[in-house]
Subunit: 424 residues, 2 copies
């Protein structure tokens, strides 16, 4: 077989310039989240295949990179279906592995546990611009706190980080609750069995408009009257920008369906976040926010950034996932930053990370004797002690071009060293 020069489809080789930006951003994310007491942890890239295909990941479960069994466990002749051949897969998110991690290690972790994860995830999506098959996620999660304090802290911390990462970009946080989504469907008289299909249609509101939603709901075979009820509610909610009005409207229209503390909870979250936020953003209750993952059970939220489609961060409450891994259910809530989105946005803006240390290059003529070379290395050592970045490199034939390239990399000081006989 021939060697292949290109990287795998949809996965990228990261060049030094992008890498510098990524590291700068990761530095901000880490130090900022740590100042809230989040603890960095790590799980393996591979998970048991049954953890990844248990219905927690929604559509992502169709996109798993699966790992072939090894040695005696692999039996090509008796294998009838794909899953006879594999025993593991690459994680498609950081939430399912975190739930497993918590179930596996809870005796060694403080409660509630505040986790910070930064790591790669893999999804075999159809390749397209700006979509990668390996990408980095930055997640914070609070495990073991059933109260709104978890949502509030996740939102304050994440919006604070986003404003540091993209100081020039305005953003908006939209919030909803899965229980409101269901309650509104029920209040319209639509049957439970159609619920998921309704959510999938509602999720497209931005793209197809209210008329489009109405049309697709009718095509689904739902009674005209029930569709009218539902559309009337959504219309009313879409017509207002007043969070309190919208939530009280829902309270009125879902009596005996939705417990009061769901509405009160959202009001508290919105109120406290407005009071305590360190970043300049709007928090908007959005009854049409759905989010795809199968595991959400309560509050859900998403951040969109001006001028960019899709979301840059998202999360929510998933109180039932840890219970799948152990006998004990543990309330959980998380917020994930779409790191690659942020990188793409900043690369497009030609964002320059903060100043690095002074960069100095020693260019030496090839063929120096040992003692002349030792002399350069000693000087470089002294410079590094002073905090400089020091490159020692042979002079290329085209010295002018070499220095231009180095200047582009931020080198500002150049010292040229020639062989004894050529010394100027």
């Amino acid at each position: 077989m021939a060697f292949v020069k290109k990287s795998m489809t949809g996965m990228k080789d990261i060049l030094p310039k992008e890498m510098e930006l990524r590291e700068y951003l990761l530095g901000i994310i880490q130090s900022s989240y740590k100042s809230y007491g989040f603890n960095r942890i790590e799980t393996p890239a591979l998970e048991d295949i049954s953890n990844l295909t248990g219905g927690q990941g929604g559509d992502n479960e169709k996109l798993i990179f699966k790992i072939l069994k090894r040695g005696e466990k692999l039996n090509l002749e008796t294998a009838k279906k794909e899953n006879d051949l594999v025993d593991a897969g690459l994680r498609y998110d950081l939430t399912v592995p975190l739930a497993r991690y918590y179930a596996n290690n809870s005796d060694k972790l403080i409660s509630p546990f505040k986790s910070l994860q930064i790591g790669s995830v893999w999804r075999a999506e159809r390749p397209q611009k700006g979509r990668f098959r390996q990408f980095t996620q930055c997640d914070i999660d609070i495990l073991g706190d059933a109260t709104n304090a978890a949502e509030i802290e996740l939102i304050l911390a994440t919006t604070g980080v986003l404003s540091k990462l993209c100081p020039k970009n305005k953003f908006t946080l939209r919030i909803n609750d899965r229980n409101i989504l269901s309650a509104l469907v029920k209040a319209s008289g639509i049957e439970e069995k159609d619920m998921s299909a309704v959510f999938i249609i509602l999720d497209k509101l931005d793209k197809i408009g209210i008329e489009g939603v109405k049309k697709e709901l009718t095509q689904l075979g739902i009674d005209k009257e029930k569709v009218e009820n539902y559309i009337a509610i959504i219309n009313k909610l879409e017509s207002s920008t007043d969070n309190k009005f919208k939530l009280e409207f829902i309270r009125e229209n879902t009596k005996e369906i939705l417990p009061d503390d769901c509405i009160d909870g959202l009001l508290t979250i919105i109120n406290v976040v407005e009071e305590c936020k360190t970043a300049d953003f709007n928090i908007i209750f959005d009854a049409s926010l759905v989010r795809g993952m199968g595991y959400y059970t309560g509050t859900i939220f998403e951040v969109s950034m001006e001028g960019f489609s899709g979301s840059v961060a998202g999360g929510g409450r998933y109180d039932k996932v840890i219970g799948k891994f152990s006998s004990k259910e543990v309330p959980a809530c998380g917020f994930s930053i779409g790191f690659e989105r942020i990188v793409t946005i900043l690369m497009e803006e030609n964002f320059e990370p903060e100043k690095e240390p002074v960069k100095k290059a020693y260019l030496y003529e090839k063929g120096l004797n040992d003692s002349a070379f030792i002399d350069i290395l000693h000087k470089a050592k002294e410079d590094r002690k002073k905090g400089l970045t020091v490159l020692v490199t042979a002079m290329n034939k085209n010295k002018k071009f070499q220095k231009e390239q180095l200047s582009l990399q931020g080198y500002t000081e150049f010292t040229e060293v020639y062989r004894e006989e050529l010394k100027k």
Copy 2:
């Protein structure tokens, strides 16, 4: 299928305490290597399967985690052998991917290119204590420099880093050259075809002793006289600790086999490193150093640390690997730190990373009203502005135990907040 709580065999969930140590060490590695002008880069975890099975990785090629083909490309019925089912694998090291990266991106990289990689690699080794199937490597490489300046810089930079990572542990760098290994075999009259087998036996010298090597060489079917020749040379070299003596002895005994500049090159490397090293270590020429990877073509080196078996870092010159991926051969040399070894050594020593920022915890009684909670969050915000790490968390029933646990995590300041009516 049931959910599995444990992490994959041989892969570990990393707890906060170890994570803190890892990050501290990675910080040292990064800043130290960057001060030499090494550029951080990244390649995907997955490589085309043909890149991983092309004979570069020695025994590691038997340990690849392979990725099942997806969609139409996967045909279970027509698949006859394992490789009909897979199109990719997880990288087993960072060197082969780097060679591909350089071939793929050389037009965008400065020459010579100094690369720094920190990343996970995967090997399906038999599980045993201290061996992991996913582990981190930290590699620096210089691509495009055929001179000894590359070896010298790699050695100075890596030994400098090691002395910062493990300031209390004495270490030794052993160095050899693949060309010396072959020349000594040839000089003894042993045939070319037996060369690899001889290296594998010589590599066991530490374990089986010189008599063991002699016995196994004889068992290989090599003429008694030739074995005697070879053993005599090795014995002579093992009897001395004087690098210059050993290298001149080899020069004498390999005339017309080994080019002079190989010996001169090693003498230069040893001399310059001795003169310029920032760490306190010995550099020893070791004619029995072999190193397993298939791709080495010249100098090879390895670092061992007092009190620990095996090596903590290793590397060498591999001038022929990049040429496999492009029409152009590019000289290359690298040094890799076995990060997990370092972590294990320091964990065993109960090493404590440098002081972190002051850690303060607000413990609040559950059921605070919004304004009391807002008040705490404002205080926490102010503390964070001053650089503190601030945890806001609900008081557990067993407050004493909770504070003890937090103290173990480094929290030194505690503020307790009670509901209005209970305020003390």
